[in-house]
Amino acid sequence: MAQTVNAPTLPPPPLSAGALGWARENLFGSRLSGALTLVSAAAIAVGLWFSLAWIFFSADWEVIVKLGGRFVIGQYNAETSCPGQNCFWRPQAGLLMATALLGVFWAITASVSVKRAAFAVALTSAAFAFLPYSLNEMGWDVRLLLLANVPALGAGWAIGRHTPLNTPSRAIIASVGAFLLTLLLLRGGFLGLEPVVVEKWGGLMLNILLALTGIVFSFPLGVGLALGRRSNLPVLKLLCVFFIEVMRGMPLITLLFMSQVLVPLAFPENFPLNSVTRAAIVIILFSAAYMAENVRGGLQSLHPGQAQASRALGLAAWQTTLFISLPQAIRNVIPALANQFIALFKDTSLVYIIAMLDIVQIGRAFIQGNTEYLLHARELFIFIAVVFWVFTYAMSYFSKRLETHLGVGQR
């Protein structure tokens, strides 16, 4: 009887598996691909060599050290805006509340990405306490309040776990409350707190506050406009279309400038509307118009059968819109909405046109005022660009997580 022996399993050819195989397929797949790899690898090597040499040897990062806390709060703590008091603790209290709320959300959602964000915020804030400034430049109170972000995160987590503040809707209400409380604190003028006029708010704080206000208000407004544009009521539709198209047709910067020149005319003299509020309103209206177009896209992507089925089940028109159409429509356009939020955050840098000192303008004003730093403006703007990038990248990361979580494209 012939005996059959399995041939020994040979290892794969050395060039088709492992790192070599991967490189052969992805880097040297064809002659053109190989050439491209060599050229771009050389370009990266040269680029890295020069940028690292520049970053560590030729660049002078002193301008960033010099500006320090002004990046974060602008002129808020200056003697002219907050005389006789140390006001740095007020924005820091806002930060502590934000960290604690992140802890609450972490406990409630048990989501990995929220946990990461919470830890990132708390640990980065705490790390700033160890900056090598002298005690004169950065007091122990500032450092302690920065370090307090870590216990605040723990406290928030405990609150979310063990107190009635344990459902998403309650946490959202608490967040809105904390946001309003922060605004009140920053404004001051009660309990012996020196009032700080809104025009003196600045730095990254101003960018974040404007962006948050913009997101919170422009989203519902945008949804309303989108519904109005899709409704079959001619007058309502016409109004919405007109508003959306006019807003989308103009650059934000023009609108912002005109909000300072024209809007005061449209209100009675002495109407209590300061320039920051006007700017915030313009940003909200502008963003809402774009938001409306995104939501409209989502509504159009729905199969009409959804609404018909819902009506057939006896839901009223408003119930159909609120519980059937909108949730699906908004889920479908999460990436577009996230991009809109990112654009909104980036657009807050345009408030320079109304003489507000946001983070970009703080840097620019510093360079213009201290011309000896003119050659180091690039270090400054690279730093500000990276700060913005961290925030916007975090936003797009979260939108991707949310998309996966809600199963977009899988249902």
Binding site: S33, A266, A377, Y393
Partner: protein, 411 residues
């Protein structure tokens, strides 16, 4: 006793639940509210005009502007009128828009294709480009480039590139073909007309090239024999253009165009000759192109990914080269997905050019802002709104015409 049957009579829907009535009440109420709000604004503006002597009206358009405009591509003197100055500013914006869109589209397509490259390294580089430049505010990028250009040496010790081009803090100068002869167009005779005559012959040459290409393509499709349409078309165009050039040279004794090389002149080394892109325009174009290309790259990527895989496999199976697949199969289909969002990027670039004021380029918004010091803001606002609206409409019209041309025809 038999109970009398209850007769149900249909009373009709109560008035307050009648759909038509609800809808029309809603519409009338919202229309009245909007009209009332607008009327209130207008009455306030009217009051302000009366009480505070705010100027209004369009008489200023024929007054002398008396302010220089930093950069202009059509002749402008400070003694020209406001109306003409606005037109000059609008041409400045339009030039940035057209050149910027052309460059950004080219770069965006290249990056978008590179992002889908099978070469791992190339795809990663393109991805990093998109992720970074898309997520950093345009203003920061513009300021970064602005200070880079500002830190270049002044014209008197300018950088020299390849011995023929110059780059300094006033801008970039490159060799450029300029018409020879010169002189007055009406009295200068053939010498002055020659450049224009050659441009006309070049236009005829290009048109002839297209006709040849079309005829040969049709023949190739009908007969199946290779007729080399691209090579023949190009050859025809070059031939006709060269014949025109030589003919003009023989008749006129001089070439219609000559390359003009820039050269520093005088004590301050002002660069004369060639073609100079001044610093403001240079910075604005770099910033806008790099920023917008990141968005266009994403649009192109989405468009290419929307083409079904079977299409590519079929094209490869028919023996097309990878470049041929991209050019003849992928791209024509992807264009249908790409063009609509591309139009909105063109609009965005046009509107974003309003940031030029921050880096010293005199575009529409910055000129208008300067004008508000000596002219009525209300009228200026109406004019600037109309100008941007006109530019948006122009882009939409051009884009939609193109979209219609490449769309599915017939069935």
């Amino acid at each position: 006793m038999a109970q009398a049957p209850r007769v149900l009579t249909y009373q009709g829907i109560p008035v307050w639940r009648h759909v038509v009535i609800i809808q029309w009440t809603l519409q009338i109420v919202s229309a009245v509210l909007v009209v009332a709000l607008v009327a209130w604004f207008f009455s306030n503006i009217a009051n302000a005009i009366q009480d505070r002597n705010i100027p209004y009206g369009f008489d200023f358009l024929s007054r002398q502007y008396q302010t220089p405009i930093g950069e202009h591509f059509i002749p402008y003197e400070p003694s020209d009128t406001f109306g003409y100055a606005l037109f000059v500013a609008a041409t400045n914006t339009a030039i940035v828009a057209v050149v910027g869109v052309a460059l950004a589209t080219a770069l965006g397509i290249a990056v978008g294709v590179a992002r889908l490259s099978s070469n791992w390294l190339v795809a990663r580089i393109a991805g990093a480009y998109v992720e970074f430049f898309r997520n950093v505010p345009l203003l920061i990028q513009l300021l970064f480039w602005f200070y880079i250009v500002l830190s270049l040496p002044p014209t008197r010790n300018t950088h020299v590139l390849f011995g023929r081009a110059y780059i300094n803090n006033a801008g970039v100068s490159i060799p450029w073909p300029l018409p020879t002869g010169g002189g007055d167009l009406y009295s200068g005779g053939l010498a002055a007309l020659a450049p224009y005559l050659w441009l006309a012959s070049a236009a005829i040459a290009v048109a002839a090239g297209f006709v040849v290409h079309r005829i040969l393509t049709r023949r190739e499709i009908e007969t199946g024999r290779a007729s080399y349409p691209i090579i023949s078309g190009t050859a025809a165009a070059v031939l006709i253009g060269a014949v025109g050039w030589v003919a003009l040279m023989i008749v006129n004794g001089d070439a219609p165009f000559a390359i003009s090389t820039p050269a520093p002149q005088g004590a301050f080394g002002r660069i004369a000759g060639g073609f100079t892109v001044r610093a403001g325009l240079f910075v604005l174009l770099i910033g806008l192109v790099i920023y917008t290309a990141a968005f266009i790259a994403e649009i192109v990527r989405a468009g290419i990914q929307s083409v079904r895989k079977g299409q590519l496999e079929a094209a490869r199976a028919l023996g097309l080269s990878p470049i041929g697949v991209l050019r003849l199969v992928t791209f024509p289909q992807a264009l249908r997905v790409i063009v609509p969002p591309l139009i909105s990027q063109c609009l965005n670039l046009t509107k974003n050019s309003s940031l030029g004021g921050a880096i010293g380029y005199s575009e529409l918004t910055s000129v208008t802002i300067t004008m508000t010091q000596t002219a009525p803001a209300i009228s200026l606002f109406i004019l600037i709104m109309a100008s941007y609206l006109a530019m948006s409409l122009a882009w939409s019209l051009a884009g939609n015409l193109y979209n219609w041309r490449i769309g599915f025809k017939g069935a």
